[in-house]
Symmetry: C2
Subunit: 386 residues, 2 copies
């Protein structure tokens, strides 16, 4: 894929690390999913506008260190200005550029720094380096998040690569999740939109760190069409599966890097009535502070898991329910005798643990990812805020 | 009010403190609100049955130390057995007795101890002592919760008194909220049901500790009718106000005693479109881990508050929104300059703090109570579970 990248250290981030990223590619169909938080940041408002009118884009610009959120009219002007500088640099339309920000909320962008940074990035365009690009969009992430894979259709290879950031925290706002995925397949916008919608539900919309949705969450998929691989109704499922692989790996990295997390917890819900029910059950467990603290304490506490499910007020018959932590069957219509010591050891010795919940109501399943709730989470969010 | 009480130390609670409470009163109309958790405990299932068929009750029995939840058919038999022993002791119908339990989940009641304890309580009936009654239903509550008040209608006095427990934790389940309120007014069941419904929404359904609803949550109001004060359409609002006073004070005690809490936070939502919106906004803030940790850190973090509201996806125009912490105006359509140091001191020096949020959308308001999220919460729920 011919994607060019420019980065700069504009001095927006207190750390002094890279905080501007510009990506340039040929005009391409794209799909973008933006936060539904009604306090949506200025770049999100701007991107929503672009999404309404624009079939193809050819560049994105991202700054980290300042979210440009709760910044009113001025904030919107600044987001637009960022697109403008990039469009002038590449001699393209302003509406071909999407804008993203992440970082502190409620503070206007330092536009002198931002402008200089973007100019510098434009003057130093190079080949896409996933790791460096991921680093430029990071805030307090403890590692850069990127992943790539290839697929094959009719003997022809295509590739998918992506970067993400998330789960860090900057005063005074919550983590923002940003993810950008590029692929070189040929696909029309309508089919790409459908694939993206499916994939985002099973990946970025199925992870949780602390239940808080950000003002800036954004997920972008761009298909440059540089290979001969054409996605159609016949092979779309295979393509979506590969896209999901990349999105899921990136999403899992975000949870793994969740604030203070010591464990990545995979919650597999089976035998639900329908997919929506399966997802809501996974989410209810993932969001339970009692469950998350039990996981931190290596406590195979099935009561907290079933109770979180009960809180959904579904007409679940718990006499049909089975619950496993790892390979340990803890509940099967009634409390099971299990080797508590061994189950505790399983939780203690694994950085990635699995919950399997069988509802006995139908055929639908869903996987949700979450992390544990720890002292460190409190420390990060209560003490490091000034 | 002529309410008789019996307590016993049956040895269900590990602490060895009182764990059986029996209350006896004349046959009286009552209203009972029970958890909607679909993993509802056996006593809740039993009480639902009673509620269907019974206009008046004349006794309740409570055990603490074991929730009798997720205990299947056997659990239901045991709950019924508790009612039976009490009904035989007082020579009343079994259906005149409501049963409640709180404590560990997924373990059958030690019925030999329970039966002996109830017998002992029945053999030692005395005048109602609110503090002792509250103590007998407590689990890990750090103080007994009770409150009483009087009212006056047409020169005649009536009284309302109540006990509650909650926010403690017993392995391996979450806190359960139990509350029982008694009044000596004359009121028919239909009017009492309406008053109770109103009151529970504004009190026990407007508090949060950690977002987790229990399998055993129960709220009971009994009106013995021993005074000449008759509640009718004219004076019902005054009566409901007095009932709300008792319920709110008990509810606030639960939040104050929330696991690890250092602060009681009162969230006043103003100018919402309707009451439901006002409540949902208060709840969204109360449930935000990021907000709760900021409060623990004495951080006047308005971004986390507005973002939690934004997460409801309402069409709120934030340019009309005003937000105060204490007397400090932090946001008014845009970020305000405020004395950060003084606001931090306000949060630091007060055990009870107030948030006032004006939505600029209508006339409805709501008050929600929550507590901060602290190291101690993690400690209690991660480390003290085995």
């Amino acid at each position: 894929m011919n994607i060019k990248m420019g980065v700069a250290k504009a001095g927006i981030k207190p750390s002094g690390d890279y905080d501007i990223l510009v990506l340039k590619f040929k005009p391409s169909p794209y799909s973008v999913v933006l936060t539904q938080n009604s306090l949506a940041a200025a770049p999100v408002l701007y991107d929503r506008m672009v999404r309404e009118i624009q079939e193809e884009i050819s560049a994105i610009v991202v700054n980290s260190g300042n979210a440009n959120a709760a910044t009113g009219e001025k904030g919107l002007e600044n987001a637009e200005k960022m697109a403008e500088i990039v469009s002038e640099g590449f001699d393209i339309e302003k509406e071909e550029v999407l804008v993203f920000s992440t970082g502190v909320i409620g503070v206007q962008l330092p536009m002198d720094k931002v402008e200089k940074g973007i100019e510098e990035a434009l003057n130093n365009m190079q080949e896409l380096d996933l790791e460096l690009a991921a680093r430029a969009i990071s805030t307090t992430d403890s590692f850069p998040k990127y992943y790539e894979t290839t697929g094959e259709i009719d003997g022809k290879t295509f590739s998918i690569k992506g970067i993400a950031k998330g789960a860090g925290m900057i005063h005074p706002n919550m983590a923002t999740m940003l993810a950008y995925i590029f692929t070189d397949v040929k696909i029309d916008k309508e089919l790409l939109d459908r694939a993206t919608k499916l994939v985002v539900e099973r990946s970025f919309n199925s992870i949780d760190v602390d239940g808080c949705e950000s003002t800036n969450d954004s997920f972008l998929v761009v298909a440059t069409g540089e290979t001969d691989v054409e996605i159609n109704e016949e092979n779309k499922t295979y393509f979506a599966k590969k896209l999901l692989e990349v999105a899921t790996e990136l999403a899992k990295m975000i949870v793994k890097d969740g604030e203070g997390a010591t464990k990545l917890i995979q919650i597999n819900v089976h035998q639900a009535k329908d997919k929506q029910e399966a997802k809501s059950v996974g989410e209810a467990i993932a969001l339970s502070n009692l469950f998350k603290t039990a996981m931190f304490g290596n406590d195979p506490n099935w009561g907290r898991i079933l109770s979180a499910v009960g809180q959904l007020h579904l007409d679940i018959d718990f006499s049909n329910v089975k619950l496993y932590i790892g390979d340990f069957l803890l509940y099967s219509g009634e409390p099971m005798d299990f080797d508590r010591k061994a189950a505790e050891e399983y939780l203690k010795n694994n950085r990635e643990v699995t919950i399997d919940l069988y509802l006995g109501r139908g055929e639908a399943d869903w996987t949700y990812y979450t992390c544990d709730l720890t002292y460190k989470y409190i420390e990060i969010n209560a003490e490091y805020t000034t």
